[in-house]
Symmetry: C2
Amino acid sequence: MQTPWEYRYAHRTQKMKSSVIRELLKLTEDPAIISFGGGLPAPDVFPVKEIQAACTHVLEHDGAQALQYGTTEGYLPLREMICRHTVRYSVEVKPENVLITSGSQQALDFIGRLFVNRGDYIVVENPTYMGALQAWNAYGAQYITVPMDEDGMIVDELEKALRIGPKFIYILPNFQNPSGATLSLERRQRIVELADKYGVPIVEDDPYGQLRYDGDHLPSLVYLDSKFRCDDGCYTGNVIYLSTFSKLLSPGLRVAWVIAPEQVIKKLVQTKQAADLHTATFNQIVAYEVGKGGFLNEHVKVIRRVYKERRDMMLETMEEIWPAGTSWTKPLGGMFLWGVLPPSMDAAEIFKTALSRKVAYVPGSAFHANGGGNNTMRLNFSYCQPEMIREGMTRLGLLLRELVVAN
Amino acid sequence: MQTPWEYRYAHRTQKMKSSVIRELLKLTEDPAIISFGGGLPAPDVFPVKEIQAACTHVLEHDGAQALQYGTTEGYLPLREMICRHTVRYSVEVKPENVLITSGSQQALDFIGRLFVNRGDYIVVENPTYMGALQAWNAYGAQYITVPMDEDGMIVDELEKALRIGPKFIYILPNFQNPSGATLSLERRQRIVELADKYGVPIVEDDPYGQLRYDGDHLPSLVYLDSKFRCDDGCYTGNVIYLSTFSKLLSPGLRVAWVIAPEQVIKKLVQTKQAADLHTATFNQIVAYEVGKGGFLNEHVKVIRRVYKERRDMMLETMEEIWPAGTSWTKPLGGMFLWGVLPPSMDAAEIFKTALSRKVAYVPGSAFHANGGGNNTMRLNFSYCQPEMIREGMTRLGLLLRELVVAN
């Protein structure tokens, strides 16, 4: 039976569809399946004890504030803490440059709402984070895809894209989701210069920046841009920078942040006010309590150690088992690596067989804004224990051997 | 210095403006001001102890799940609890009829996103909840306002509005924000029948339904509608029903819910997935832990007692002090009452003088979708202690006496 609601959907719903990943992941709920499909942090590194202590402290000392409505901008001491964290990387920001969001997905949605008219072009890496495409599809975005290699977006191709007149560039410079690639320093500098030359701003999405297992931290685009775009020591530049507590603390708290010029933050605040008033006060104060004494700087070392071991196990198993003709990225950090099969093979087709062998991944086509990538797959290495990674990657590798031979 | 972002706003931002209430409330942060302006629950009734016990229990027993990403629909045991609560009022719903949102404001935003094309008409009470107008203005909504009296929306006027062909009717039947009016049973039945006759669906916003201080609970519109709109014992009707834990438990947790036909919930889930993935897992599990044993049914009695006393104090002071020519509603529940001044007086003008006398309210014009209401004001009675209500309403009453005489 249809309700009157079903004849009343707005035009923008025509582009809405449930995420492919989501539908696939439903198939992997069987506990016998070793899934590299999700993008979940390891629950074994959640700082449960510290969060519990923070909850108790906050409710004992500040229950009336923590459980009450809060300001749309977010809890001021938390925004100040984020400023101090950001200043460590030499980007001068004030609390007026910071908005707390309910996860970075919300920031992506707000950016779409604020900047995307139907038909506007956005420059994205190919492949790119599917959640961003989902957020911006709702506003009628179109995409210009720029190819990548292991050093990230290929900058010569970017300049061509900028001549088309896109609304902004979306880029994940560190340990990109899905590819695991890290943008080189030289390319970072070139991208910031090109963005300035063409007057096209940048959305820098950095959920994994601190999860580096090899090599040295590279400066963020917002830092490189801020060197020539500050007023009164405060950021007024070209970049909107996103990061989150989801990977360092807990994704279940839904606390993330945006750094942007003050005028942009003001518009984002108006957007958020109409969208959900504010991010949960309690969660913000708890995140502040856990983080204020520097605990996260120590805790991130634990996460790095655990994830590095898992990444290494995944790479080692692939080296050993995966057949000739397949290749993969060697991420310096983050949570994902990217598998490439021979061009004639289809990762979405193989998925069904993989499920029957009790192993899962995400077919890479979902991350391609304008199609393609049928022979690619995203593999998560943060969630499973090392021995499960070994077992799962062996299952998958043996399956691929069979298929490559049959191919 | 302008950034490239400022030349790149989408068309929909042109209608965005910061809430009038919000700007006014900033002026009331002076602790010497007795403010009836906000819409805050009393922090003295937050069940801090129970929430703390729930946090501890959840983190000890279920930390890995509570701190992890969750499903977009929401935590299943919480949705089941909401079903049991709803069935008490004879509306048969399954978890598939329930979506958890980050506060009811988010549900209002999603409804706008899903149903409102630029220029669509929405029928609203006059006055109505400003947050709904803010959410829907962003999607280019227009409004048909229907006048109210103490029994709520005047139904004969509604039928005229329905002939214009609105997208839906938005109504707060219980202790309406801002007017405090409660829709009579007869009108509830008539509205559900008219909505059915014209094929126009209803958004029923019910944040305060359980905060009744006098008289008996009246059936919700979703209940009246469900009597002739069920399939397999499950709701497939005309009404989207919104409620929240904000007034019973804590607004700082941002946990609310939508009840709707399953097909509508599916679309809302897709919307939420792109907007913020899911509501904080931890908060949902904590709300479930606090509520599952029936605690909220007991706790609401405490809230009722506290708020009734405050409402009575406000009414009593008004009777005593407020001058002839002013009038006000006598709400049966909720958190607000509505003051009406002589037609020649302007509550926004008087606001500045009131502030200098250290008392604040919200001028009523902000709640009028199509203008008007300059001589009205919203007064909150839930937040301040009774003696502060007495003092503040005396200050305001004495000021109004002076002004009425001068008028």
